[in-house]
């Protein structure tokens, strides 16, 4: 965790730009936040903001049971 923490206002402002990258990372299946961050090549703590915002606004949802190492996986919400 040596990544410099950016001002939350700046990270959240990026959300509108990053949302598509989060969704693209989930195109091939559910992933945990660290796995999404790895695909996006962005700091995990920043990706956490964007993943939770995507969840808040209904783009993604969690799979009910967490993984063995205590992470939830997130998947795309299918629009009807």
């Amino acid at each position: 965790m040596n990544n410099k923490v950016r001002d939350p206002r700046e990270i959240m402002r990026d959300e509108m730009f990053m949302r598509d990258k989060v969704l693209a990372a989930l195109n091939d299946g559910p992933k945990t936040v660290p796995e999404i961050a790895e695909v996006m090549d962005y700091p995990v703590s920043e990706v956490m903001y964007w993943v939770m915002a995507a969840r808040k606004y209904g783009y993604i949802e969690e799979i009910k049971e967490p993984t063995e190492d205590d992470y939830f996986q997130y998947k795309l919400v299918k629009n009807e």
Binding site: K4, R13, M16, S45, M52, Y71
Partner: protein
């Protein structure tokens, strides 16, 4: 009196006081600065020691308050001032902030929030997640109505002559909504393709990002949007409006001003005919601007935006008389024929063959005349964009040497910087501070330009330093062609002759500066024909502006009529930059263009477009200065038609009999305890953030670590973080931290049964009813209590945290213990806003800066000023039951004061 009692602050204390007073039959005005009442209590998970659901208690109270027949609730409003009157009542001034949402229409559906393109930290979730500029505070908000957060006009939007709201299309591009970006622009102007290439972009000069690494390339983003859209939609998606009115309008000239006026008039159903003297429409866009800057097919597509509305363009039709147009049945006329006549230098030899005006030269080239300058030497005179265009065109026609002579220095050149640089890159030699004094020739044909050097004197009326000839500095160049580009003027002598139109000494039309109406009723004018040669965007603005007043004229309304609504004041760029402690460096991308050697061989467009990713990167640099970007997506999404950007703040002046101050408390910001790592370790959070993670309306799906989304299994609480601490200036105990921490520990053990919880404390203060039992219950559940002050919290490589503490109950040694999440049980601080409410008097504060209770033992809630009372945590840290009791006391005193005043 307008109300018996004013209650300031709509948290639990304010609601309780208002309800008590309302039940007594007093009329109450409750003013709350947030868009919802409920204060901090509604944001809690549960309350201690009963573990009752906070929402289940607070929500009915919020609804009862809001719907009480004796209580009027004014949310999103702030009390500016309270003044005591001689009769003992109070005059209050309240700022009712504009919500930009009509609450009578809003259904609370949140569609606007989902559509909004501006993300900002969600203060109701204590920055754990973002929200939108358009938002409803939370699901249980009362009233459950959206508000749109605006701080003012964004500097870019404020600077735009056509009020195109650049912030709006920038935020749409950032969000990947490219079609919507162009459709946004089309609300303000019909020629986005042309402006995306030729706009002077005053917005970019004001961009707050310019104070950091460089402003956003807003013009190029506009071009990106139009390129994307035009490729996808070769023709407009719309046709003529449904209802066509029986009024006819003539527009003289089809340049940017004429096209824009026609567009807005036709949109409203007026039958518009444009008369164009040349054989093709577009004015300067097609006639003089070279295609390497503005390809003709882009202008043609822009023009389709106008003709799709049913506007007819008659080319090759020169209008000689305006009154004749009116006689032909046109109800109104807009003159926008530009300034297409070259200004002469009035020097010897100007009539030689080989000395030409820039407009004539450029028109010929754009018309397709065969002009070959291979191997020739060309001198261009002037410093504006037309001069630069002429020089670069000459280069493309084969000229081996091109000079630009300008009588001032580069700093005074009116041409765009980027154009000047492009010209230099194309081997055009700039000769600053030089101007021709004579053209000499042979057999009536130009052979030589004789020039003189200049120096800069005092500023002239334009503010630029006046060029002064330097005696004895004459020099000459052998040339084949000289292009004079020192200015243009309108060709409108016939209007003066035939219509008695008033002209200025610069041969431009005289108009009313507000309405743009000429001295002939019903005849309006704008663009270069009024201003003289100006920019494309200024001409478009004139067209849009004239259309507003022409519509008023056509409706038979008095001119000028109601003033046009002003934009919100512009936000201060320095204030914008202060919103963040630091900024990541985001350099603007390098401008992409064809290499100079390649581009001078033909008229291919020089500037290359952004890719999708490049455009989104550049748009992503936007700082959202004004808050809401005015992208308009909320308007599209709202099915109740509730969005209203014409709203403005309102100041309400009212008289009340008494005042209850219930402005609540502030939470300690742990950033100042740098040894706790709150600012740099994501897994150090505050207890209020933990309460949000535990609440049913939580920002995550459960309690997770903010650093990576892991379910924590070893959580530490650090008590007295920012209370009982003289180092941070708060020596008081906050009275609630022990109990809320124990509450959270019990709740976590319920939701994460395998988690270990350690509470680091100085001493546990379990003084209230059943508090001790609650504490003992936590111990029995397995919560570990460690007596010892935490000295430091360090972050490990895996995001875990090393808590260094003194184990007082053990051997007294310093210990280091690893946890994967640390919660700081932050203390309560006084909200000092209340102290400044009164003018002409003072609400006294106690030594801790809470509102002072002058007789705390015998008459709690009484302040230093008769008639003003304090309720709840505005007076001291206290828990919810004590707050409710205290609010009752304040209500009783306020009621008694009102009775005295009424007598």
């Amino acid at each position: 009196m307008n109300y018996d009692i004013l209650v300031v602050g709509g948290g639990i204390a304010g609601m309780e006081s208002a309800l008590t007073l309302g039940d007594m039959g007093y009329s109450v005005l409750l003013v709350e600065k947030e868009p919802t009442i409920g204060g901090k209590m509604i944001l809690l998970s549960k309350v201690f020691p009963t573990l009752d659901c906070a929402s289940c208690i607070a929500t009915p109270k919020m609804a009862s308050t809001f719907h009480h027949s004796q209580v009027t609730t004014m949310t999103y409003s702030e009390v500016n001032d309270i003044r005591k009157t001689p009769k003992g009542t109070f005059q209050v001034s309240i700022n009712k902030k504009a919500t930009y949402v009509d609450f009578d229409k809003c259904t609370g559906c949140q569609r606007c929030e989902f559509a909004c393109t501006v993300a900002i930290p969600d203060q109701y979730n204590f920055d754990l997640v973002g929200r939108r500029s358009a938002h409803i505070a939370f699901d249980q908000a009362v009233p459950k109505k959206a508000v749109i957060e605006r701080y003012g006009s964004s500097p870019c939007s404020f600077a735009c002559p056509v009020s195109m709201q650049p912030h709006g299309y920038v935020s749409l591009i950032r969000s990947g909504l490219f079609d919507e970006a162009l459709e946004h622009i089309l609300k303000f102007v019909p020629i986005p393709g042309s402006l995306g290439r030729t706009c002077s972009a005053p917005c970019e000069n004001e961009c707050a990002r310019g104070e950091l690494e460089g402003s956003l390339p807003i013009r190029q983003l506009k071009r990106f949007a139009s390129d994307h859209y035009y490729e996808k939609y070769p023709n407009p998606k719309y046709g003529p409006p449904g209802e066509i009115l029986d009024k006819k309008v003539a527009v003289v000239g089809s340049g940017p001003a004429g096209l824009t006026a026609a567009y807005f008039l036709a949109k409203d159903g007026y039958k518009v005919t444009i008369f164009e003297a040349e054989d093709r429409p577009g004015g300067m866009l097609t006639l003089t601007i070279p295609s390497y800057r503005l390809p003709s097919e882009v202008v043609e597509r822009d023009i389709k935006n106008v003709t799709a509305l049913g506007v007819e363009i008659k080319t090759g039709h020169r209008v000689e008389s305006l009154t004749e147009l009116k006689n032909d049945g046109f109800d109104a006329v807009f003159v926008a024929c530009g300034a297409m006549q070259d200004t002469k230098m009035k020097v010897e030899g100007e009539d030689l063959a080989g000395v030409v005006g820039a407009v004539d030269f450029l028109k010929g080239v754009n018309r397709g005349d065969k002009i070959d300058l291979t191997g020739k030497t060309v001198v261009v005179v002037g410093g504006g964009n037309v001069a630069i265009d002429s020089a670069r065109v000459a280069r493309r026609l084969g000229a081996s040497k091109v000079y630009i002579q300008y009588r001032r220095s580069r700093a005074e050149m009116p041409a765009f910087d980027v154009e000047i640089q492009d010209a230099i890159d194309e081997d055009i030699e700039m000769q600053y501070l030089k101007t021709p004094v004579r053209f000499t020739g042979k057999d009536g044909k130009l052979a030589k330009v004789e020039s003189i050097s200049m120096k800069l004197g005092d500023p002239d009326e334009s503010g630029r330093r006046r060029p002064v000839p330097v005696e004895g500095s004459e020099s000459s160049i052998k040339v084949d062609l000289c292009i004079v580009a020192i200015g243009q003027r309108p060709d409108i002598a016939s209007f003066a002759d035939n219509d008695k139109s008033k002209l200025t000494r610069w041969n431009t039309l005289v108009v009313d500066s507000t309405t743009l109406e000429t001295n002939i009723p019903g005849v309006f004018a704008g663009g270069d024909v009024v201003s003289g040669a100006a920019t494309v965007v200024e001409a478009a603005h004139a067209g849009a502006h004239a259309a507003v007043y022409m519509k008023r004229y056509l409706r038979g309304e008095q001119l000028p009529g109601e003033p046009l609504q002003q934009m919100l004041p512009v936000v201060d760029r320095n204030e914008v930059l202060k919103r963040q402690s630091e900024y990541r460096t985001l350099n603007p991308g390098k401008r992409k263009e064809l290499p100079p050697k390649e581009r001078v061989s033909d008229f291919s467009e020089v500037e290359l477009p952004f890719t999708d990713d490049e455009a989104r990167y550049e748009a992503g640099r936007c700082l959202d200065c004004g808050g809401c970007s005015r992208c308009g997506q909320c308007v599209v999404a709202c099915q109740a038609d509730a969005i209203d950007f014409s709203m403005r703040d309102e100041i309400k002046e009212l008289e009340v009999g008494s005042v209850v101050i219930s402005t609540g408390f502030e939470l300690f910001n742990p950033s100042s305890k740098i040894q706790y790592g709150y600012d740099h370790a994501p897994n150090v959070i505050t207890a209020m953030q933990m309460d949000r993670l535990l609440a049913p309306t939580r920002p995550y799906n459960t309690v997770l670590r903010p650093s990576d989304g892991k379910i924590p299994d070893n959580i530490a609480y650090v008590l007295c973080a920012g209370s009982r601490d003289c180092q941070v200036g708060n020596e008081l105990c906050s009275r609630v931290c022990c109990m809320y921490s124990i509450k959270q520990a019990q709740l976590i053990m319920g939701s994460l049964p395998l988690a270990d919880i350690t509470i680091y404390y100085i001493d546990i203060r379990a003084f209230g009813k059943e508090f001790e039992e609650f504490y003992q219950q936590a111990k029995q559940m397995g919560v570990s209590f460690v007596k010892g002050k935490v000295a430091r919290i360090e972050e490990g490589d895996n995001g875990n945290l090393i808590v260094q503490h003194e184990n007082i109950a053990g051997d007294g040694k310093s210990e280091r213990t690893e946890h994967d999440l640390v919660v700081l049980s932050v203390g309560m601080l006084p909200n000092q806003d209340a102290l400044g409410l009164l003018s002409g008097g003072e609400i006294e504060a106690d030594s801790h800066h809470y509102v002072k209770e002058v007789d705390e033992d015998h008459s709690p809630a009484r302040t230093s000023l008769e008639g003003i009372y304090v309720a709840g945590t505005a007076s001291a840290a206290m828990d919810i039951p004590d707050t409710i009791l205290h609010s009752g006391a304040a209500a009783a005193l306020a009621a008694a004061h009102v009775e005295r005043v009424k007598k």
